[in-house]
């Protein structure tokens, strides 16, 4: 094709129809879609993570109610209570401040637990096991989906919950000691 024909070709391209009316009215389908409230994708994995966090929250509340008002410390230590490593899906690490607080509280845990009654201590241990199991499960899920932001958030929440339980145990036993001292 010559340059002239090439130019004509380009001119012809510019004459092609740019606006075309659809053969049917497409609005009803659009209207239906925009009138329907958007549903969030709810996968079994997310449902599981949400259920774990819900369970942690509920059990922590039970712990709080049980341990609250505890007056008589009991000298018994649970040596098997271990903490999950802070892998955060194998790709992230928790902040140094968070780790320091967690390590400090974990070191004090046995001493603090020894001041609680067997029932309360068992309750606390059970809750911490639940939290640690949740951390383990979410970490495993994150290993498969490292970029899942919801799972990352759930993991962070689980770590916070763990820290919260540890602080609560520490605070409550400190109150007990203060009352006993008086």
């Amino acid at each position: 094709m010559t340059d002239t024909n090439d130019d004509k070709l380009m001119a012809a391209a510019g004459r092609l129809a740019t606006e075309v009316a659809p053969e049917r009215d497409l609005w009803p389908g659009i209207a239906e879609a925009i009138n329907t409230p958007r549903r969030r994708r709810w996968t079994p994995m997310l449902a599981q993570a949400a259920a774990i966090v819900l369970l942690i929250g509920a059990s922590s509340a039970v712990t709080y109610v049980t341990v609250k008002g505890q007056q008589q410390p009991v000298m018994q230590v649970s040596p098997e209570l271990l903490f999950e490593q802070t892998a955060f899906g194998g790709r992230y690490n928790l902040g140094p401040g968070f780790q320091d607080a967690r390590a400090g509280l974990a070191a004090q845990l046995d001493v603090e637990l020894a001041k609680l009654s067997p029932e309360s201590r068992a309750e606390v241990e059970e809750n911490l096991k639940l939290v640690n199991q949740a951390i383990f499960d979410i970490n495993q899920a994150l290993a498969e989906e490292p970029d899942n932001t919801l799972l990352q958030a759930k993991l962070l929440m689980a770590y916070r919950e763990e820290l919260s339980v540890l602080r609560r145990v520490s605070g409550l036993t400190r109150n007990v000691m203060m009352r006993n001292d008086i």
């Binding site: 070709l9 659809p22 925009i34």
Partner: protein
């Protein structure tokens, strides 16, 4: 008689200006209302722009049912994103961008689906853009036979008049790539049309 004609022409011209102003004002108002979740205003925007969006989707997919789906998806996307429209470009251009993304997204999402679209498209040759007549129909068919990369660039640049910068931005490719694909498209079109003895 001349005075009457002048008056009529003047009236006609004034009406045109008023209509154009009303359209622009109407569009701006509808956008503002749609940004406040007014579905009726959004329907007005749809009515105003559906032919532009559908035309582009039809050219890019080469298939009526895919073009219809893409058009619907594009307007649903536009509804979801209309709060982000700041008027940096014309609303039609903004819609075109969304439509291009929608079509490309469908192409990328499933290779099998893409093959299916192409297969359906092949069976619908010569029938997909009824608005193209005579020799333009041949050109339209030749464009539809181009490889997708070259076809998309050619459509946006030569048919829709977007610059290579805009075309590259819409398709997610570099400006240089857009230029290269455009020249490739021209060469392939010339070959195809020469083979068919096409005289533009």
């Amino acid at each position: 008689m001349a005075a009457l004609l002048t008056a009529k022409c003047s009236d006609y011209s004034r009406d045109m200006v008023i209509t154009a102003r009303d359209t622009v004002a109407g569009e701006a108002g509808w956008i503002e209302q749609a940004q406040r979740s007014d579905r009726q205003a959004f329907e007005s925007l749809y009515r105003m722009h559906v032919d532009k969006v559908y035309g582009l989707c039809l050219r890019m997919t080469g298939n009526v049912s895919e073009a219809e789906d893409c058009t619907q998806d594009a307007f649903i996307q536009a509804w979801n994103k209309i709060g982000m429209f700041r008027g940096d470009s014309a609303f039609a251009t903004w819609l075109h961008r969304i439509a291009v993304n929608t079509v490309l997204g469908r192409f990328r999402s499933n290779k099998r689906e893409q093959d299916r679209i192409q297969a359906v498209s092949d069976t619908e040759t010569n029938s997909f853009v009824a608005d193209d007549t005579g020799e333009l129909r041949d050109l339209s068919d030749a464009i539809n036979r181009l490889p997708s990369g070259a076809r998309h660039v050619f459509l946006l640049h030569a048919v829709y008049g977007y610059s290579h910068d805009e075309t590259g931005s819409m398709l997610g490719i570099a400006t240089g790539t857009s230029k290269a694909q455009y020249h490739r498209a021209r060469r392939l079109l010339c070959q195809q049309l020469d083979d068919h003895g096409y005289e533009p």
